[in-house]
C-alpha cells in the first residue's frame, strides 16, 4: 500500500502528539469492589457447558453517567449431574453480579438490591444482552442460559423485575449470545438469540479417549436460533419460523448486527462453531435469507469452515462498509471478511495480518475499537483454548493464553503488549469508556477466576464519543450509521461473545480538533453536524419530524 505524503505527515504528527512511549496502551486494573469470580465448575465429566460462559455487559443502568458492570455466572455442576438439573443458582457464589460504579472509580455490588440475585436454579448462565426494549430510557437486561433465559426490566429506580414470562422470551435449550436490534425499523427493539446445539447433561459425551476432553460441536445435533419481535406492549412474539431464521440450524455462538448492504435494514451475522457462518440478509418484509456462502462470508478463502465463537461487525478500514471478524480455534485463523460492497465479502486474513496473529490461539470476545484514538479501529480479542487439557493432546497449544491487542495501521494489524502477561482462559469481553476519559477500556471474563479490567492509559490524541437519542427510531438509536471524519460505526450493543458493549459510539480523531458528524437513523432520517469540537461526550438527538 502506497502512503501519500499527507498520510505520512499525519502519522508523524500523531506519533509526536502521542509521544514515543513504548509502554502499553492498556493496563490491567483491579477496581475496588469487584470481587466476581466466574464459576464454571469444571468436572471430570467434561460437560460442554463448563467451558462456554460467561458474558459481561457495560451499561449505565442508573443513568448517572458512569458505566456499571454486569457479569453472568455459570453455576454449580455436580458430577455426575442428576435430573432435574440444579445449578445451585440461589447460592450467592453462583449469582450473576451487577456492580454499580461510584464517582471515585470503585464499584459497589448491588446485585441483591437490584433484584438480580437468583437467576433460577435450573439455569446455567451464559451471556447477556442490553437494550431499552420499552424505550423508557433505562437499559434492560436479557440473560441467556443453558436452561431458561431471563428478561429483566429496568424499573428506573435501581431495581429490575423479571418479566420473562410476560414477555414470552424464555427460549429454552442452550442459548449463548443475544442482542437487541430493530429489524423492522418500527422503533422498538427486537431480540435475537443464538443457540448452540441440542444437548443436555444426560446426553453428554466425553471425547479424546484417555485424555477426556470436551467434545467438538459436530458430536451433537444442530439447533435453531430465535428471533423475537417486539410487539411494543411489553411482550414479544417468536417469529423464528415466519422470518426464516429457524430454517437454518447451526451451532450458533456469537451474533452481531449491521447493515452490510446499505439498504437501511439491519442484517445479522451468526458465528457458528465448526461449520459455515451465517449472514442473514434482512429482506425488509419481516423475513431473512441466509446468504453467507454466496456473499463470501461463510467460509475462509480455502473453503474451510470456521469454529466461529465471537464476532464483530464494524468497519475496520474506514471505507464506510461494515466488515466482519470472527474469532476461532487454533489451526484456523480468525476470519476476516472484508466488505467489498455490492453485498460481497472477501477473506482478508492475510492482507490484514490477522491470520498471522491467530494461527495458534483460540479467540472469544472480540472488538474493533480505536484504542489509541488515531482514527483507525484496533482489534482486541479475549483468548484461551476450549480444552482445559489441550497441552496433553497438542503440546504446541495452550489452554491459558494472553489477550490479543493489535493496532490498526492502515488496514494492517500489528500485535502490541495488551497490558498484562497473565495467561488466562478468557471468554466474554465488553468494550466501553469506563472512566469517561475518552479512551476505550475493556472488561473480559475469565473461567474460574476474577475478570480482567483493561484500563486505557490514554494519551494526547483527540476523540469524540456520541450518545444517540432516538425519537422516531428506538430510543438508543441502535442500528444507526454514524460517520465521523470518514470513520463509520454502526450503533449496537451486541457483538463480541456473550457480551454487551457500551451503547455510546467512540471515535478517535488523532490530531483533529473538530469533527463532522453524520447520523443515518433507522427511521431513515439523516442528520449532519459540522465543526463539532473534539474531546467531548455528545448527545445527538434524532429530529422528531422528517
Amino acid at each position: 500500500m502506497t502512503k501519500t505524503l499527507l498520510q505520512v505527515a499525519r502519522g508523524l504528527a500523531l506519533v509526536a502528539l502521542l509521544g514515543a512511549s513504548t509502554s502499553s496502551l492498556l493496563e490491567t486494573a483491579s477496581p475496588r469492589g469487584i470481587d466476581f469470580i466466574l464459576q464454571n465448575s469444571p468436572t471430570p465429566q467434561k460437560y460442554l457447558i463448563e467451558t462456554m460462559p460467561g458474558g459481561v455487559a457495560l451499561l449505565d443502568y442508573n443513568n448517572d453517567g458512569l458505566l456499571d458492570i454486569f457479569f453472568v455466572n455459570g453455576g454449580r455442576i455436580s458430577h455426575p449431574m442428576t435430573t432435574p438439573e440444579n445449578f445451585d443458582r440461589h447460592n450467592p457464589k453462583y449469582w450473576n453480579r451487577l456492580y454499580r460504579q461510584n464517582r471515585d472509580g470503585s464499584f459497589t455490588d448491588v446485585t441483591e438490591q437490584a433484584g438480580l440475585a437468583n437467576a433460577g436454579d435450573g439455569n446455567y448462565g451464559m451471556g447477556v444482552a442490553v437494550g431499552d426494549y420499552d424505550n423508557d430510557g433505562f437499559p434492560d437486561l436479557y440473560v441467556t442460559s443453558y436452561g431458561k433465559n431471563v428478561l429483566y426490566h429496568n424499573n428506573g429506580n435501581g431495581t429490575f423485575t423479571d418479566v420473562t414470562a410476560k414477555a414470552g422470551v424464555a427460549a429454552g435449550g442452550w442459548s449463548v449470545s443475544a442482542g437487541f436490534f430493530d429489524y423492522d425499523n418500527d422503533g422498538k427493539l427486537d431480540l435475537f438469540v443464538t443457540r448452540y446445539m441440542e444437548w443436555d447433561t444426560q446426553h453428554s459425551k466425553d471425547c479424546g479417549g484417555n485424555f477426556h476432553t470436551y467434545c467438538p460441536p459436530g458430536e451433537f445435533p444442530r439447533t435453531t436460533n430465535i428471533l423475537y419481535h417486539n410487539r411494543g406492549d411489553g411482550t414479544f412474539e417468536d417469529v423464528s419460523e415466519t422470518s426464516g431464521i429457524a430454517a437454518k440450524k447451526g451451532h450458533g455462538l456469537g451474533v452481531a448486527f449491521a447493515d452490510y448492504d446499505g439498504d437501511g435494514l439491519t442484517d445479522i451475522y451468526v458465528a457458528n462453531d465448526g461449520m459455515q457462518q451465517y449472514l442473514l440478509h434482512n429482506n425488509g418484509n419481516g423475513t431473512f435469507k441466509e446468504v453467507g456462502l454466496e456473499a463470501g462470508a461463510a467460509l475462509n478463502s480455502d473453503g474451510g469452515p470456521l469454529s466461529g465463537m465471537g464476532v464483530v461487525f464494524q468497519d475496520y478500514d474506514n471505507d464506510g462498509r461494515p466488515d466482519i471478524i470472527v474469532t476461532t480455534l487454533p489451526r484456523q485463523t480468525y476470519g476476516v471478511f472484508h466488505n467489498d460492497g455490492h453485498g460481497a465479502f472477501s477473506d482478508r486474513g492475510l492482507q490484514t495480518g490477522i491470520s498471522m496473529l491467530s494461527g495458534v490461539t483460540a479467540g472469544w470476545g472480540v472488538g474493533l475499537e480505536d484504542f489509541d484514538n488515531d482514527g483507525q479501529k484496533d482489534l482486541f480479542v479475549a483468548q484461551g483454548h476450549v480444552l482445559d487439557n489441550v497441552e496433553k493432546i497438542d503440546p504446541s497449544l495452550h489452554y491459558l493464553e494472553p489477550s490479543l491487542l493489535a493496532l490498526n495501521h492502515d488496514g494492517r494489524f500489528e500485535s502490541v503488549d495488551p497490558g498484562t502477561r497473565a495467561m488466562v482462559a478468557a471468554r466474554g469481553t465488553a468494550f466501553g469508556d469506563l472512566n469517561n476519559d475518552g479512551w476505550i477500556d475493556a472488561v473480559t471474563t475469565v473461567l474460574g477466576s476474577h475478570p480482567q479490567v483493561f484500563m486505557n492509559r490514554g494519551g494526547g490524541a483527540h476523540w469524540l464519543t456520541i450518545a444517540l437519542r432516538g425519537t422516531r427510531s428506538n430510543r438508543d438509536g441502535l442500528g444507526a450509521r454514524v460517520q465521523v471524519n470518514g470513520q463509520t460505526r454502526f450503533a449496537t450493543t451486541a457483538g463480541s461473545y456473550e457480551s454487551a458493549n457500551d451503547k455510546r459510539l467512540h471515535f478517535g480523531l488523532g490530531t483533529t480538533k473538530t469533527a463532522r458528524v453524520e447520523v443515518t437513523w433507522p427511521s431513515g432520517s439523516h442528520q449532519v453536524l459540522n465543526d463539532v469540537p473534539a474531546d467531548q461526550f455528545l448527545e445527538v438527538r434524532e429530529p422528531e419530524h422528517p
Binding site: 480455502d302 473453503g303 460481497a344 498471522m356 495458534v360 504446541s396
Partner: protein
Amino acid sequence: MNQETIFGTRASCLWAISRVRIRRMRVGAKGFCFVFIIWIAMQSFAIQSAVAQTISPEATQHWNAARAAETQKDFKTAVSEYSKVTELEPNSAAGFVSLGQSCMEAHDFAAALSPLKRALQLDSTLLAAHQLLGYALLAQGYAAESIPHLARVHEEGALGIAQLETGQFADAIKNLQAALQKRPNDPDLLYYLGRAAGLLSKQSVDTLLAAYPKSSRADQAMAENYFVLRQMDEAQKQYELALQARPDTPNLHLELGQVFAMTSRWPQAEEQFRAEYKLQPGNAEAAYRLGDALLHEGKTHEARVALERSNELQPQMPETLYSLGKAASLEGDAAVAEKSWLALLSSEKESELAAQTHFALAALYRKQGNTAQADKEMQEFQKLKGSTQP
C-alpha cells in the same frame, strides 16, 4: 525432557501399539491361512487321491469319511476320521498333512502343529506340509520357527509378516513388496509393509542415537521426534543445536522453518526457509515453503516470485499451484490465478485441494461478475466437500 525419557516414552508407546498390532496380525495370519487352506485343498486333491489308493481298506474308509465331512464343513468329524487314518497308517505323511490341514480348517492351529511336524519327519520334501506348518506356527505366535517353512515355499506375504515380528525389518520389507507385486493394494500387506518401514526407520534412528548421541544428525533426529510429538519448543532447540554444529546440512533450515510455521511464527519461518533456499536454490520444496511463509505474512509479491520459482523447479505440484494462484489473486492478477488453479484441477480432481481450488475459482469468478461460472465452481466445491467430508 532428556533424550532417554522422550525415546523411552516413545518406545513404550510403540511397544504398546506393537502389541495391539501383533494381535491383529495374528488374526490377519489366520486370514491368510483360511485363504491358503482353500488353495491347498485343491492342490492336495491329487495327493489325497493317490494316498487313498495306497492305504488299507479300513483306513480308506476313514479317509473317505473324513473327505465327506470336510465337504460338509464338519471339521470336527474330519479331524476325528483323519486321526483314525494316521493311527492305522502311521507312516503316511499325506495322512498327517490332511489331519493338520483339517485342524487348521477347524481353526485349531495348536492341534495342527504336531501332525504337520510328523508329516515332515516322514517326508521333508512335502511342500504342502511346510506351507501349512509355516502358517500354523505364525498364527500361534511362533514367528521365528515359521520362517524356514514359509521361506521353503516362497510364501512371501506370510514370510514378510514373520520377519516383521522377529525384527528382520529390511527382509520383511523386501518380501512384503514382492507379495504386493502379486497382490497389489492388498490392505493387509500394505499395512504390514508400512509398519515394517516405520520400524526400520526407528531402528536406524535408534542406532544413530546410540552410536553418535552428540552428533548433528542425532540432534536432527531428536528434533524430528519432538516435531511429531508437537513439542515445538524442544524441537526448535534441537534443530538449533544441529544447525550450530553443521549449519550447511541440507533440510535443517527447512525443518526448523516448519517448526516456526506450525506455531504461526511466520517471520522466523520465512528466515529459515530463505536460508534453506539459499543453500539449495534448486530445491523446489524450499522455494515453495518460502513462498507459503511470505503468503502468510501478506507479502504477496515476494510470495509469488518464490512460488513461481518452485513451479519452475518442479512443475505442476498441486500445492505450489494452489498457493501461486492465491498469491496472484491477492495481487489482483486474475489471469495467472485462474491459470494456476485450472492447471491444478487438470491433475487433481477429487482431493481436498481440488475442492479448495473450486472454491477459490468461485470467488474469483464472482469478483469478475461471472456469476454463472462462479455458481458452477461452487457446485463443484460443494460436490467434493460432500464426498470428502466424513
